[in-house]
Amino acid sequence: MAILDQGPLNYKEQLPPIIKENYGKWRYHENPKAGVLKHVSESGAELYSIRVGSPRLVSLDFIREICNLADEYCDGYLRFTARHNVEFLVSDAAKVEPLIAALGAKGLPVGGTGASVSNIVHTQGWVHCHTPATDASGVVKAVMDDLYEYFVSMKLPAQMKISLACCLNMCGAAHCSDIAIVGVHRTPPRIDHDKIRKGTEIPSLVASCPTGAIRPNPKEKSVVVNDAKCMYCGNCYTMAPGMEIIDPQNDGIAILVGGKVANARTNPMFSRMVIPFLPNNPPRWPEVTDAIRNIVETWAANANKGEKMGEWIERIGWERFFSLTGIEFSDKLIDDFIFSRETFRTSAAFKY
């Protein structure tokens, strides 16, 4: 029988000796090349972290393979980052280049540090989620293949974080990313009254709708949807399988840009929608990769050094973002939900 509530592994047992010895004593770090961080301790100790892109959805073999590498080059220690990269913790400077060579031989990309695109935080998509409007891993693979050069180099103006959420639940927390790829539905739920009758709590279902589009249908012992009020968020479907919202013909992807979470220089910002819909076009989602490349390259060509996507856009103005990228503006990009007012331009000063 399992021990209840023993809690996670004690991190102390998972730390390599160099970290235990220099815990809290790190003095500074450098980023000597893409994917390599060098941390220097007050003691003079030097720790090299080699950052490696991972598909996140991995097999046993992948984990065992990186364990083998960690055993060989890092005394058996490694870590993962918040963005699903693997980091090899090398205490012997002489092992850095051999490890990078070994990683290269296995096709594992070293990068994602500094002014690069980091790994994409993403959700499960068609692989394992019950509410997706798009796939996750496939879109990520297509985008990262396309932006590969920016992962393994540091030639962007600043770090760029891309996230993908396969529906509006946005498990991937794409709402504050430099670029957010969000799966969206575009048609109201189709009600399966039988399913609703079987075990759906009607008041909860009604309450789940943020726009009040769902009302009880006492005759059917089910509900009715006011299609005009529905904005396809899918919250009802999360609550009730009978509110079938998946629509292969009309589901797809929206692109939001300019979010940030760090407090450096400017306050954290939400990502903002710039493309309301791109079709699901598997396996390589060319409309999505093209759109993202356009945004990345327009930013790279125009931003100041050290300027995050959102900082650049807020400096030049969103109206200039649209003119510079050539992305079409439309009424769909104008907010009409609770906090719309703060987005309306209450100033006669703007650019064209």
Partner: protein, 397 residues
């Protein structure tokens, strides 16, 4: 099941980025469910839709969460995916592992599951992706024996996570790894037995660079900061000048409050302490010369969440500065978070994140109830409307 082709997925084995398809194929060699997953996914690529149903109630003894049921809607075509559940393992602080730990997980999962995993899930758990109902308890038993425990799911405390902190970062203003470990252990009951209106996430970032995205991704963000002012090493400043750094342009001109003054003649850098907002920009650019102050702790922000339902909220400041001390067992934080949970538990509606509850009932209601003093650091700016609620005891009868 007969061999089928997967032409669309095969396309995704091309290109330089590591392929998840390759990973599924590796798992498919050893595991029939993973093989069916490959074909189910190919079908999704053809039909442009997922084929998973809402989770049913599955679990392990003694816990209300940690396991998520998952079933395909095509069980006749994909019998090995009829049940294909997820197990969440609470990861160690900072996602540090020794290879022995990782291999332990692999060995259990090879025997009892699909062989597919996420390192890590969005909240930070190690995710075992795909097993059958009968395997859940044995998996838990074996993980437990290996020293592991399950993560949160449902309307409970989700597995807290933290940045690398003092383990590897010179910016860490408190011990994020220990705080995460200590506080996770303190609240095992809240983590394993859902009893709240909805989920609650805590993330620990050691400084305002916020590498865990705590401000966006957690109901409670604990972000390292300091109460005094920057520590500046003038010799190191001169060394940066010698290296060719344009301190005026790269550091001072981009300081949001223009509180850093660089004297080009003496090559000295000074700060107007009361104007500094401790945003980390200068420290990021000159880590050898500028460091956080000595009086360190954390800013606590509450309410972060994503879009569904009432819009995305970012965490907002509820305590500008709180000591986060290993020595006192993080007592101030624990006292506060328990009062917060108690208030939310009493006032929150089903599936309402705490940010939404506070938005609905008002910050004053919340602050008064949990006993937090109102300070200007809580707001970007005061209210624009005069719609103040006056408590009866401030009114003349």
């Amino acid at each position: 099941m007969a061999e089928k082709r997967t032409p669309q997925l095969d396309e995704l084995e091309k290109g330089q980025w590591p392929s998840f398809v390759t990973e599924i194929k590796k798992a498919a060699v050893k595991n029939e469910a993973s093989k069916e997953l490959l074909h189910l996914l190919e079908r999704s690529y053809e039909e442009k839709r997922g084929h998973w149903k809402h989770g049913g109630i599955v679990g392990v003894k003694g816990y209300g969460g940690g396991v998520i049921g998952r079933y395909t809607d095509l069980p006749e075509d994909y019998p090995n995916l009829a049940a294909f559940h997820t197990v969440r393992i609470n990861s160690p602080s900072g996602w540090f592992y020794n290879t022995k730990s990782l291999r332990t997980i692999c060995d259990i999962w090879e025997k009892r599951g699909s062989g597919l995993m996420n390192f890590h899930g969005a909240t930070g758990d190690a995710i075992l992706l795909g097993t059958t109902t009968d395997q859940l308890q044995p998996i838990f038993d074996e993980l437990s024996e290996g020293g592991f425990d399950l993560g949160g799911s449902g309307s409970d405390l989700r597995s807290p996570s933290c940045c690398v902190g003092p383990g590897r970062c010179e910016h860490a203003c408190y011990d994020t790894l220990e705080a995460c470990y200590n506080i996770t252990n303190q609240y095992q009951d809240e983590l394993h037995r859902p009893m709240w209106p909805y989920k609650f996430k805590i993330k620990f970032s050691g400084c305002a660079n916020d590498c865990t995205a705590a401000i966006a991704r957690s109901d409670c963000a604990v972000i390292g900061t300091w109460r005094d002012t920057l520590t500046i090493d003038q010799e190191a400043v001169k060394a940066y000048v010698a290296e060719g750094l344009n301190i005026q342009a790269v550091v001072c001109d981009r300081c949001p409050t223009k509180c850093l003054k660089f004297d080009a003649e003496t090559q000295e850098l000074s700060v107007i302490a009361e104007e500094c907002t401790r945003c980390m920009h200068c420290i990021n650019r000159m880590p050898k010369a500028i460091a956080p102050g000595k009086e360190r702790g954390a800013t606590i922000l509450l309410g972060g969440k994503s879009t569904i339902v009432q819009s995305a909220f970012m965490g907002w400041v509820i305590v500008p500065f709180m000591k986060m001390e290993v020595e006192d067992d993080f007592q101030e934080f624990k006292d506060m978070i328990e009062r917060i949970w108690e208030w939310w538990d009493e006032n929150g509606k089903t599936r309402e994140r705490i940010g939404e509850t506070i938005y609905r009932l008002g910050m004053t209601n919340f602050l008064t109830s949990v006993g937090l003093p109102a300070v200007p650091q809580m707001v970007y700016r005061p209210r624009a409307n005069p719609y103040v609620f006056w408590p009866e005891d401030e009114i003349k009868k």
